[in-house]
């Protein structure tokens, strides 16, 4: 990941991605598999320096994973379709509350049923919000979505039916399979030692061990990534790109831009809802406090910091936004200040994001060509 972050796609030399792309397929698969295993074991390895000192690393990793998921979803809206959404937390909340309401507050539906329902509920709310507002111009969309996020939160606070400010407790855990225990690694003596006292039970979704939830989230991220890759490379992805670059031109070429924008909105909302559902599952308790407007802004920051439009970039962005404040808890009161400074510095020195999409470079070139043409056009 960090190698990728330093690779500059604009340079002509082979970047990280090119080098990976050039490897034989078998090596590629092996590399990916090793990387996946590493990710799965990460919370148990307790690698010094990476592991968060102030808070449980498994819990932090789960939080990071939800951010990654959210960033992937928001990337479809902001990065692919170019729609500025400042109220994404609304969908996240809808996902979480669907789980809470149907499995604890007013129903006893099982987790397996509730999560798909949460996705559907978020998706429907995306369509309901998008259908009337996506015709509004881009900058207005920002404030409309921001308003939507607040409407959702205030509704949660003020409707007794949804638990009000008290929130919803005792949200049931997903069914687990208690297969075997995985030990963790202890570094306190300086060298890695297998610590048989601190273990995680494989797929036991308890309240005291977040590692299985992290594993669950990793699997979900994998699936969403796969989905993301398929959609992006399809006709839909190209339609989004055309819409984002020049909506009028896309419309002229026969792309029903409104429908594609709405689709992006709905898909983004669905992933946001899924992420919220996972969050509710893990914490077992939700209240409106967890869905403040500020979270929307952090989500957006994750996408833009990482590089809107590049799925790997937004993942890096999500990690930056969610991991660093936990890792550097010792900054305590100064965390937000430092985070703000970091955002400003990033914006100034890395305006395309940490990992800009390769498209940006291409689109930029197209823009230049168009600028020349436009000036030429004037002299016809």
């Amino acid at each position: 990941m960090s190698t990728a972050a330093t690779a500059r796609p604009q340079d002509s030399g082979p970047g990280f991605r090119e080098r990976v792309d050039n490897l034989p397929t078998a090596a590629k698969i092996l590399l990916w598999a090793l990387f996946a295993v590493f990710l799965f074991l990460l919370p148990l390895l307790n690698i010094p320096f990476i592991t968060t000192e102030g808070s449980d690393f498994g819990g932090v990793l789960f939080t990071v994973a939800t951010y990654v998921l959210v960033a992937l979803g928001l990337n479809i809206v902001v990065g692919y379709a170019g729609l500025l959404d400042l109220g994404y937390v609304g969908f996240y909340a809808i996902g979480a509350y669907t789980v809470g309401v149907l499995s604890a507050e007013h129903g006893k539906l099982s987790w397996v049923v509730v999560v798909p329902l949460a996705i559907v509920a978020a998706m429907i709310s995306g369509v309901i919000l998008g259908a009337p507002t996506l015709r509004v111009r881009g900058d207005y969309l920002a404030i409309v979505t921001l308003g939507f996020g607040e409407i959702v939160r205030l509704t949660l606070v003020n409707l007794e039916y949804l638990g009000g400010a008290q929130g919803i407790s005792n949200i049931p855990k997903p069914p687990g399979l208690e297969l075997f225990e995985v030990p963790s690694i202890d570094w306190s003596s300086g060298a890695p030692v297998v610590d048989l006292d601190t273990t995680s039970t494989f797929l036991k979704f308890g309240i005291n061990d977040f590692v299985p939830y992290y594993w669950l989230a990793l699997v979900v991220i994998g699936l969403v990534l796969l989905f993301d890759i398929l959609v992006k490379d399809s006709r839909v992805g190209r339609a989004w790109e055309a819409t984002r670059e020049d909506e009028d031109a896309a419309e002229l070429m026969g792309v029903p831009t409104f429908r594609f924008k709405l689709l992006a909105f709905a898909l983004g909302a669905a992933i946001g809802g899924l992420s919220g559902a996972l969050f509710a599952t893990k914490s077992g308790f939700i209240n409106p406090q967890s869905f403040e407007l500020l979270l929307s802004i952090l989500f957006l920051a994750a996408v833009v910091v990482g590089g809107a439009g590049n799925r790997w970039g937004v993942i890096v962005g999500a990690i930056v936004v969610s991991y660093f404040p936990e890792r550097f808890r010792e900054f305590a009161d100064f965390r937000v200040l430092v985070f703000g400074l970091a955002l400003m510095l990033l914006a100034i020195f890395r305006p395309q994001g940490l990992l800009p999409p390769r498209r940006t470079v291409r689109a930029k070139r197209a823009d230049d060509r168009q600028a020349v043409l436009e000036e030429g056009e004037a002299s016809v």
Binding site: V144, F148, E150, L337, A347, I348
Partner: protein, 329 residues
């Protein structure tokens, strides 16, 4: 409903007072949007610094309730001077640090928003951590009254105690109400005339309409942008002073919600349109009050946002449309 009818006058006057403050803050969003086409997310912090400037200057001058006309006029005047100066300064600084470097690098507009968000965090946190910062510098003893409980509310002595001036529909309109509403309208008119008639004002309009043609006329875009931030900041500072007269309590995060509301007001009236900001502010202030009366205060913000969505659906460019700049469609 009966309640709304019975207390219509009271709700209207207090709604207009609040709306006036929204409108003044909204001007900053509208002006910057007009010339730069970007949402100055950190404008809320510009307002917040103004509230503290107003508060501190009153504390410094020993403001207290029940003083004579002379001192009160002096305190109020100093409040406005301090708040407008500080807010104007912060706004200009913000432009210098958070926006200009990006403009020089031709960064995409979304990144300007991120920079603004970062700046907003930094500004709010500096205020929220002021006790720690002051302790570092070693001025704890001298500044204790100003930095106490920096994460908490900071209240100002009531220097003008509200006195009923006349009665409308059973509501006693107070001197503060009148001062805020009239004051805000006067400032708006002054600004409107400034933008319309002065050379720099014309420069602002020219840049908003067509930056290239403006440059060909000799308009220095950087300077115009700076003036725009300054003017927006000064207006936010005036809003902050009015706010402190009316509400009297501020906090390091007081800007956020008010900023969101003011931005809503700007969009409601038609962003980029100065008169739109005035109309949007008043409409929003009234709607919030009437809405609170009808469905309960807890739905106040929901009323505001639902109104916004409805208006944008039927009038996609706001109530008065965009006028500061139409050129770049």
């Amino acid at each position: 409903m009966q309640f709304l009818i019975d207390n219509f006058a009271a709700l209207t006057v207090t709604g207009l007072t609040l709306g006036a403050i929204y409108a003044l803050v909204a001007l900053g969003y509208t002006l910057v949007y007009g010339v730069l086409r970007l949402i100055n997310f950190a404008h809320s912090e510009v307002f917040m610094y103004g509230t503290f400037a107003a508060l501190w200057v009153v504390m410094l001058l020993g403001g207290r309730p029940g003083a004579g006309v002379g001192p009160v006029v002096f305190w109020v005047a100093m409040m406005f001077v301090a708040a407008m100066a500080v807010s104007g300064l912060i706004a200009v600084l913000l432009e210098r640090v958070a926006y200009r470097p990006l403009r020089k690098r031709n960064a995409p507009p979304l990144i300007a928003l991120i920079s603004a968000i970062g700046a907003s965090f930094v500004l709010a946190e500096i205020m929220g951590l002021r006790s720690r910062i002051v302790a570092w510098v070693g001025l704890e003893e001298n500044l204790r009254d100003y930095v106490r409980n920096s994460r908490n509310n900071a209240g100002m002595p009531t220097i003008i105690s509200p006195q009923p001036i006349f009665t409308v529909g059973g509501y006693n309109v107070t001197n503060v109400d009148i001062f805020v509403i009239i004051g805000a309208i006067v400032l708006m008119v002054v600004l409107d005339q400034f933008v319309k008639r002065s050379r720099l004002g014309r420069g602002i309009r020219a840049v908003a309409m067509d930056p290239e043609a403006a440059a060909l006329m000799g308009v220095n875009r950087d300077r115009v942008i700076q003036v725009t931030f300054l003017v927006g900041g000064v207006m936010a500072g005036a809003a902050a002073a009015f706010y402190m007269l009316k509400i009297g309590i501020t906090r390091y995060d007081a800007g956020f919600i008010l900023g969101v509301k003011a931005f809503t007001a700007a969009v409601l009236g038609g962003i980029g349109n100065l008169r739109g900001a005035l109309v949007g502010g008043f409409v929003l202030g009234l709607a919030e009050n009437y809405g609170s009366a009808l469905v309960g205060s807890q739905w106040k913000d929901v009323v505001a946002f639902v109104l916004l969505i409805l208006i944008l659906l039927f009038r996609p460019t706001g109530l008065l449309g965009e006028s500061l700049g139409k050129a770049r469609a």
